[in-house]
């Protein structure tokens, strides 16, 4: 555990190596997604001549899309290839030789990215509240902290999903496309593209048994103060269930897959 802070600090420094690119990309991505979503929903509200749809007003949807783009990044943590690249290059060998657990190390590097983006979301949200909404109350700040906590918990479930896919690199010659598919699913079914309240009711019921709504929609709505304690509790139970199931899958894949690992690289 002594090496944990060093890993987090190192990952933070790695994130900030190319600062101009990093900040332009971060601000650009957050603002572009916000502008496009706001334009889309403004057009829909004007077409329908209503002030509220499925429990969302236009300002609420705007806030939702302030949170969601950065929230999705908390979830996806480190970039695609954080395990598979090392398997393909043969550099995964070091985790088999060094006296540290590859699982702990990879979890820590992943969480470092998630933590960094959580801090960004906090700054972005507070900026939005202070400059565009006239300040933040104590309870709103509490919701922000609770929502960020949920995003971090969800990022661990997403990490398990990612690890399960990344470890397939021990058999398949390229898993990049599988990871992209996972992102498509989690974005759409998690509510990052459209809030889940706009989905047909039957789809919402089916989705509630999957981990997806708890990845983006639940934490984002918690930050907005739209969730009840019961809903949060239910979400955490579903997330915990999937985390346990996926950890067994990861363990199984690793035990079977390491027999396939040659250490040579392709």
């Amino acid at each position: 555990m002594k090496w944990w802070p060093s890993v987090v600090s190192l990952e933070f420094r790695k994130i900030l190596v190319f600062r101009t690119e990093f900040w332009v990309t971060f601000l650009g991505q957050a603002l572009v997604q916000l502008v496009i979503a706001r334009s889309l929903w403004t057009a829909i509200f004007e077409e329908q001549k209503v002030t509220e749809m499925n429990g969302f007003t236009l300002p609420m949807l705007t806030l939702y899309y302030v949170i969601v783009p950065i929230g999705s990044r908390i979830l996806t943590g480190e970039n695609i290839g954080f395990i598979s690249r090392e398997i393909y290059e043969g550099t995964f060998t070091r985790y088999l030789l060094y006296p540290l657990s590859w699982f702990q190390y990879k979890t820590l590097t992943y969480v470092s990215y998630s933590l960094f983006y959580a801090l960004q979301l906090m700054v972005f949200f507070l900026g939005y509240k202070f400059f565009l909404s006239g300040g933040i109350s104590f309870s709103e700040f509490g919701n922000l902290l609770l929502g960020l906590g949920l995003f971090l918990v969800s990022s661990l479930v997403y990490l398990m999903m990612s690890m399960a896919v990344e470890l397939l690199a021990l058999w398949a010659d390229n898993i990049w496309s599988l990871m992209v598919m996972l992102r498509f699913f989690s974005n759409f079914l998690g509510g990052a593209l459209i809030p889940l309240a706009f989905f047909p009711e039957r789809a919402q019921v089916i989705l509630s048994y999957t981990p997806f709504p708890n990845l983006v929609s639940l934490p984002a709505r918690t930050i907005m103060g739209l969730t009840s304690p019961e809903e949060i509790f239910r979400g955490l139970v579903v997330v915990a269930f999937w985390a346990v199931v996926l950890s067994f899958v990861v363990n199984f894949l690793w035990k079977r897959g390491q027999k396939n690992y040659s250490g040579v690289g392709i």
Partner: protein, 262 residues
């Protein structure tokens, strides 16, 4: 010209044999793009549960728009994407030298040398979907409208390539391995929405400064509503400007290229 065509045929042959070596990846990538298409179709299906019109278009019209932008995406994935993916690495590691010393235009060589065979399958699927949306479209159209529509889709693909390159080329100065390509993919969302939803400054931004709305939305507008002089002039002027800007920045970047690895 003939020499370049012959060279491109060699690129095609090598790309297909390379793709066939990694068959699982080949299949995964086809499935991945199909999921991207399904998600985009479902996105608008959900939106149209709550409104009958979006940006002045009905659901059958918006599906033509979806067909157009997934086709443009497939064209770019097939012809350019793999090449552009590796370009920042080549610059960052100083490996561009091998391409600069060959007796071929380096921009041609670096942009077209790898044809993505798996995406070619998706190009066929995307074209099939566009044909399906045209059959479902309730309006009438003739061969001339289709011909113009296809020409404008190709123009959109060129514009998409130019913008993508312009987000990558800053690596000549920043020395990173990504450039602003992540920002490009996010900006790509602007291409996937009808242009009439943008107002004020953002309308100027997405139709002139970062002309993502011209890539698919304008061709569909011309197809559905007929061509008008201003739209055609706008499309032509912006495409020529972006292509000229790309050539200019590419030249400047090459002059800044040190060949040293970073």
């Amino acid at each position: 010209m003939k020499r370049y065509l012959r060279l491109y045929l060699y690129f095609l042959r090598f790309s297909f044999s390379k793709a066939m070596e990694f068959r699982i990846d080949f299949t995964f990538r086809i499935v991945m793009d199909c999921i991207y298409y399904v998600v985009n179709i479902l996105f608008f299906k959900v939106i149209y549960l709550h409104t009958p019109m979006l940006g002045g278009w009905r659901e059958d019209e918006i599906m033509v728009f979806v067909g157009a932008y997934i086709l443009i995406d497939a064209i770019n994935m097939t012809i350019f994407s793999t090449n552009l993916w590796w370009l920042p690495w080549l610059i960052n590691k100083g490996e561009l030298d091998y391409y600069l010393i060959r007796p071929v235009n380096p921009l041609f060589f670096l942009s077209l040398r790898e044809f993505s065979a798996n995406s070619f399958m998706n190009l066929i699927i995307a074209a099939g979907f566009l044909i399906y949306t045209l059959i479902q479209y309730q309006g009438s159209f003739g061969a001339a409208e289709i011909f113009l529509f296809l020409a404008l889709i190709l123009n959109g693909s060129l514009l998409y390539f130019c913008i993508q390159m312009l987000t990558i080329l800053p690596v000549f100065w920043t020395q990173s391995t990504r450039g602003f390509v992540d920002l490009f993919y996010t900006l790509g969302l602007a291409m996937e929405r009808p242009h009439r939803i943008y107002r004020g400054f953002f309308k100027i931004l997405f139709t002139t400064l970062l002309p993502f709305a011209l890539i698919a939305s304008f061709p569909v507008k011309v197809f559905l509503e007929g061509p008008d002089l201003m739209t055609m002039l706008h499309l032509t002027a912006v495409t020529i400007s972006f292509f000229a800007l790309l050539i200019f920045v590419w030249g400047k970047g090459l002059r800044n290229y040190s060949s040293a690895s970073s």
